[in-house]
């Protein structure tokens, strides 16, 4: 390729390679200006792989399912209860609130204004939660949206929706499935998806 073939005006501005180059340019400028460390990006990503992720939420739910006294404390003061399990709170979770789904009430969390999500328990929000179509529809037609997620609630189940607008971050304790009596917390935790902890999945035993 000759020089004139990749002149400045030839690059398309709405391609993944353009976004990737612009992001790389941004970090590069931050490094040049001493606004960032060389390992900052890696440490941030690693933080959400190891410190704040859905593995925390699943551990909390498994404990709540097996220890009714813990569940009571969790519903009363979520931040204090997760600290009992050694889980640290922090950014986007300074004020957490747990709500419990049962056979008769199904809780769903959304953020129609942006993408508020309980980071200390679930890590970062997945794409479905940030999708404008999801946020538009979940509050008005939750059963139709649940169907698109492959979830059909038992007839007569009431839905309660939590739309985040201030600084409280909501977390759903899903209903414990039948057939799991006597299971260890570790085995129970493996059943619990991120989606179930925001009400877009129900926990089942295969």
């Amino acid at each position: 390729m000759s020089d004139k073939d990749h002149g400045h005006h030839h690059h398309l501005r709405e391609t993944e390679s353009y976004y990737a180059a612009r992001t790389k340019a941004l970090e590069s400028l931050f490094r040049e200006k001493n606004l960032i460390g060389q390992d900052t990006v890696d440490r941030v990503i690693n933080f959400f792989d190891t410190e704040m992720g859905p593995f925390n939420g699943a551990k909390v739910v498994a404990r709540a399912w097996t220890d009714p006294a813990f569940k009571t404390r969790l519903l009363a003061d979520c931040n204090a209860a997760i600290a009992e399990l050694g889980i640290r709170d922090g950014i986007e979770g300074e004020n957490l609130k747990a709500v419990e789904s049962t056979a008769s009430v199904h809780h769903i969390v959304t953020c129609t204004l942006c993408s508020c999500w309980p980071w200390p328990l679930l890590g970062l929000p997945p794409y479905w939660f940030k999708d404008p179509a999801f946020r538009a529809r979940i509050v008005r037609e939750p059963r139709e949206v649940l169907k698109e997620f492959g979830v059909e609630l038992t007839a007569g189940t009431k839905i309660e929706i939590w739309d985040s607008s201030a600084q409280i971050r909501f977390f759903v304790i899903p209903a414990r499935p039948d057939g799991t009596e006597g299971w260890s917390e570790e085995k129970l935790a493996e059943l619990i998806s991120t989606e179930a902890m925001q009400g877009l999945d129900v926990v089942t035993v295969n």
């Binding site: 340019a25 941004l26 900052t40 004020n95 940030k130 946020r135 538009a136 509050v139 008005r140 698109e148």
Partner: protein, 224 residues
């Protein structure tokens, strides 16, 4: 009115995404890392990003993927505040387009990393220890006000003019932000958990006992 402030309840938007990934392209991770650096070192906070999102052309808001919008918002803010300039960003973008495997400069401030990690564990608690004289009490009916659209709001569009019942008065005052223009939530004030019945918001929907909860700043409420 700004569509982004009235998203909930919008019809005819097609199927929802069920994508479970947090990042769908590698560059999104890098962008998110730079964003957390900006948060942790005080370059910006969520409300700055939200101002950008709410200021977008609504058609573009639907058109572009989440982190593509972040990239636009972050770079526009950084240029406006003179952290970077557009010419150097353009020049380097072209360079990395032509040389995608070129390394990043081996420079930077190593102290920033610990500062950012500390920030992620500490967070930024909005509670403020100021005297609280809440105007409304548990069990009271309240109506959501319908103020003019602002640069930035935490007032959920579909709740405007709707009546709900106060379920909880939070024990402390909340400061949303004092760093961006909002519709009067930039002073610490009580917030309330208000319960609305879905049937009262969308009466044309099949009647259910479904309910909807939201934490509402006092400034957005009046007695009903």
């Amino acid at each position: 009115m700004k569509l982004q402030q009235f998203l909930g309840g919008l019809e005819n938007v097609g199927p929802v995404s069920t994508e479970k990934k947090v990042f769908v392209e590698e560059w999104e991770k890098q962008l998110f890392g730079v964003h957390m650096c900006m948060m942790g070192t005080g370059i910006w906070a969520w409300p700055h990003l939200r101002v950008k999102a709410e200021g977008m052309n609504p058609l573009d808001y639907f058109k572009y993927r989440y982190y593509i919008k972040w990239l636009g918002g972050m770079t526009a803010y950084l240029v406006e505040r003179n952290y970077i300039n557009e010419a150097e960003l353009e020049e380097l973008t072209e360079y990395y387009l032509d040389n995608p495997d070129a390394p990043l400069p081996e420079k930077g401030n190593p102290a920033v990393t610990d500062q950012v990690v500390d920030y992620m564990f500490t967070g930024d608690n909005p509670y403020r220890d100021v005297a609280l004289n809440p105007e409304f009490k548990v069990g009271q009916l309240v109506r959501v006000l319908d103020p003019a659209s602002a640069v930035h709001t935490r007032l959920i569009g579909y709740l405007r003019n709707k009546v709900g019942v106060v379920e909880e008065v939070y024990p402390k005052a909340i400061l949303y932000t004092d760093s961006v223009p909002t519709d009067s939530i930039s002073t610490p004030q009580p917030i309330y958990r208000v319960k609305f019945m879905t049937r009262d918001i969308w009466p044309e929907r099949p009647d259910t006992d479904d309910a909807l909860f939201s934490e509402v700043f006092e400034t957005y409420l009046e007695a009903a």
